[in-house]
Symmetry: D2
Amino acid sequence: MIRASVIGASGYVGQELIRLLHNHPEVEIGSITSTSSIGKRYDKFYGNYFGIMEKPFEEQDIEKIADESDVVFLALPHGVASHMITDEILKKTKIIDMGADYRLKDVAIYEEWYQTEHLSPELIKKSIYGLCEIKKDNIKKYNLIANPGCYTTCSILTLAPLMKEAAFDSDSIVIDAKSGITGAGRSVDVSTHYTECNESIKAYKVAAHRHTPEIEEQLGNIAGKQIRLIFTPHLTPMNRGILATCYIKMKEKMDEESIRKLYLDYYRDSEFVRILNEGNLPETRWVKGSNYCDIGLKLDKRTNTLIAIGAIDNLMKGAAGQGVQNMNILFGFNENAGLSDIPIFPV
Amino acid sequence: MIRASVIGASGYVGQELIRLLHNHPEVEIGSITSTSSIGKRYDKFYGNYFGIMEKPFEEQDIEKIADESDVVFLALPHGVASHMITDEILKKTKIIDMGADYRLKDVAIYEEWYQTEHLSPELIKKSIYGLCEIKKDNIKKYNLIANPGCYTTCSILTLAPLMKEAAFDSDSIVIDAKSGITGAGRSVDVSTHYTECNESIKAYKVAAHRHTPEIEEQLGNIAGKQIRLIFTPHLTPMNRGILATCYIKMKEKMDEESIRKLYLDYYRDSEFVRILNEGNLPETRWVKGSNYCDIGLKLDKRTNTLIAIGAIDNLMKGAAGQGVQNMNILFGFNENAGLSDIPIFPV
Amino acid sequence: MIRASVIGASGYVGQELIRLLHNHPEVEIGSITSTSSIGKRYDKFYGNYFGIMEKPFEEQDIEKIADESDVVFLALPHGVASHMITDEILKKTKIIDMGADYRLKDVAIYEEWYQTEHLSPELIKKSIYGLCEIKKDNIKKYNLIANPGCYTTCSILTLAPLMKEAAFDSDSIVIDAKSGITGAGRSVDVSTHYTECNESIKAYKVAAHRHTPEIEEQLGNIAGKQIRLIFTPHLTPMNRGILATCYIKMKEKMDEESIRKLYLDYYRDSEFVRILNEGNLPETRWVKGSNYCDIGLKLDKRTNTLIAIGAIDNLMKGAAGQGVQNMNILFGFNENAGLSDIPIFPV
Amino acid sequence: MIRASVIGASGYVGQELIRLLHNHPEVEIGSITSTSSIGKRYDKFYGNYFGIMEKPFEEQDIEKIADESDVVFLALPHGVASHMITDEILKKTKIIDMGADYRLKDVAIYEEWYQTEHLSPELIKKSIYGLCEIKKDNIKKYNLIANPGCYTTCSILTLAPLMKEAAFDSDSIVIDAKSGITGAGRSVDVSTHYTECNESIKAYKVAAHRHTPEIEEQLGNIAGKQIRLIFTPHLTPMNRGILATCYIKMKEKMDEESIRKLYLDYYRDSEFVRILNEGNLPETRWVKGSNYCDIGLKLDKRTNTLIAIGAIDNLMKGAAGQGVQNMNILFGFNENAGLSDIPIFPV
């Protein structure tokens, strides 16, 4: 039994962590914090916890929490974690950062895309990018895990198996991604007011979304060369889910069956990645509430392009689910501990 | 470890049973059937099961299934179970019928409201109405459980504590209930076509819904007298959830705090009923994916009327969740085995 | 051609007025105001106006606007209009107030329910409650129209024909109303954040909603006696629409056909009220984008109760549509000028 | 005043035509047909027409209807119109075919993608592809108009201005399109059951959708060479709207402002195309209920790719609205007659 704390537990990612940690067989929840709501009971924020968890938010005393916790999840706006984490804290506890501060290895790229100074760049190299299926063997060597972003997890998993293959033109990638509105968080804004996003779809931050360099860096690492790609996020009128429709040109002939085999091999040991059979394509409904990433493949022979489509639950594999998966790896639990429920449908 | 089978596993209630039974620590799934899809793999019907349960639908051989199962769930249209169940079958296995055939003790009322002949009326008295919170102590004595309807579960739980109290006028009850669209099942019809029910609300089967006599019979049993009430169902544009707004006139003065205490006492040992604090009212989002029934109370002093509002997840406490709860009681498991997850939000 | 201005044009009601006035054959739009956005172009607030109306918000100079306008619509929070309107202004122009300040004739009731002092109580008697179907002949005698609330319009129209009839027990009325989320306005709040109200239904302000005394006063006027009733609003996951399910006990026998005839007679000259045929019940989708109020009737013989159900588009007949209808009456236009489009479906 | 009939008036496109024609100042509605519902009143199919249009469906006697109508709209499944239309009929009346039968000039391509024999190929060259903004001057010379598909209208309008420009690589086009569920029509199917498509997004008919060759033919005509492109449709949980996110590589440098100017010039005389200002991108909500196509542009300098995004209401500019626009052109009415209402929001 380990003790896990959540710093920044009032947002959607924090709440999903609490839900998963509470259901987890190996975890007891330690401290929860929210700077703006100290002393307020958790079930006042989230009525689903009434009668289940009435714990109040504590002060955000990272030293004390690190002392008392085996693992601390940070679910904070970008720029906050890099002010908070130090070598001393990492000696006391393990940190799983749900935010962006340690995801990009190149500080300059971080500072350019996030328009903020990074306050602990020396810690970046002591951290690992926690995309479990890609980094699995190495994660347990680190005390600071940069949990990947939602769009990035879906995009990278959908394209990773192709990155070393000469048949695919890695300079031609287009990722057209669609996210549910929980991706925008719980902060109120007219753009996420019910009647402003219900019954409508739009692209946003076109050619400017911060997950772009993250996808490029990770795919580039696999490819062994720099990758430049197009990433376009869309806001879709639904609560949860990300669908990433990815296009990549082929440089050599390869049939769909061989490509599928390549994916099956690549993810042979990854229980949370499901490579769909021929003729099947992912839908966000089939992964909801679960840690799965479903991937479907279709070769467009007319244009000699592979269309690879991935689907995840953005709060699960795209955030809290992967956070728990990282924790499971760090502590040697079964990788699916607390994550084995069947996706819930229709919901 | 018991073996549970599901007859009629292709609809939404059947699927929710499969999901819960698969996650249940004490159960292995035996046979699943669907008369129209024999031999078809389950994950072809429900993509969430891909890689998880690829079992095919078997023939609906009730004798064989009864022989091989500790418990059999029936999720069938009304009128079918009463053709299927016999004393012999009940000697071999326990039956939890998700349908209406054994819910009404008065066969004449069944035949009037369902417009069909009941083929095994002699079994009705050998069955129990499986509303766990009300019938708990007696359920384990029966081999045939009539699992309550969705609207009825919500309505009865919301009103039951008042039925023996002289302060409330049981002749004045109005239940205005709102259901998500899973309540209509998975059969295709223009009325449940996406664009026909999205973004609209309507009442239906006004003064004619079959759950009316079920509510009346059960509340009447508690009250010790005949109850006549008004029940109006509405179709609400959401997947899951039932909200029952119940009105009952007061005959004597009683303050809200005393009424709340009455509910807290009545449900003292019922972990799945949550009586909300003063000022709080239930919302279907807070119970989604869970077996909870949340109840809120507001005394309208101007009109001397109690407004009691209940919320459940119609596929959980309103169907499969309660079915599993009944199974837990029948087999002496913890009542919340397989049902202890926190409600999932936002989903 | 008249000139119409809108004070408070940035909210949903203001915008719907602009849309209707822009499409209206007899109107040109004068000034539009929004105190917080002076100088900002309208199409920056509402992208549907791009290329159509790029007029900026002006200062809220009521004297100047009254001088230059034949009619001024006020779409303001309660308590603001009563500070703004004077006898002098009413000599210059006609005012249609979309807010609550002049709806209640009894100042004490206004001040109790709205918890604010009324600053121009002497103007209340110079105003008329602009529920067109009820007050039609008198509206044109007034320069100050109190446009009714959304819930109230739907509730009153659904019950009005019964109020003088001895067969109905006006002390037994229960109104269970369901509104889309535009009813909550455009101000941001966590309660109207997309993922907080999507896929969930709840009651709110139970036994405490400010439309209650408005319904009681108007129905009481028709009945010729004081009415006390129960009104329960619900927030429904859809953009537009109100459904009011109304229950009233019968004191004498009357068949459904006779009751329907009573409604047809009562609304004989009201083109915007549609009394549905036997067996049909209103759905909010059938009135969307229109000024109709659809009313369906079902007599529950078992409980001797009439269930009368009304449906409107809350932004149309429940607000801006009725505002324009009032304007049409004031200026002697066809009552349906600018309001004759068929309801739009599926939308 | 002309007389317009609608063959196949029971589906969503037929209904939207009826709505627009009924509101149109120059039109009276003649016959309406639906082979499966002869004699049934229109308002029984669509409750919004109650009290407005109670006309019954007539027999589908094309000869008689052609004799009595100035224009006949066909809203039929593919393959039906090509059985129905003859030279004789085209002498009697004008035909606006909402279906696919006359859209593709190359019969072989039609027969390959639609897997059906074309029964009147000789009429294809007597028809014109009625994408008004592109073919405007020529439309009035024809009696047979092939009204474009929904995805195609949005895609072609979004890309057309680039097709003659050497700066853009027309071999690199990717169109990632998202449609509301009305695009799937009113026929019931489990895939369009409310709870199957609510709260989920998916791609479908990937590399196989029939609108692909239509887009290719029309863009190829403008480019003056064959075009091969990737088109991926997605089903989005909303009633109306199409968003087409289009990617095209640049072969020469060109700044965004120059590209925008190119669009503004191209659509200088097209009132229904709105080229958004720098920094603005289309959202389907801003065109709902209108005939607009909104187009936004973003040059991704990192990848030297133009991202052009178009939005339409699929039932309006994507079907019935454009049908009426074609009718307006054919009869010399104002191009926006019956189509000038402001987009309705929030709805």
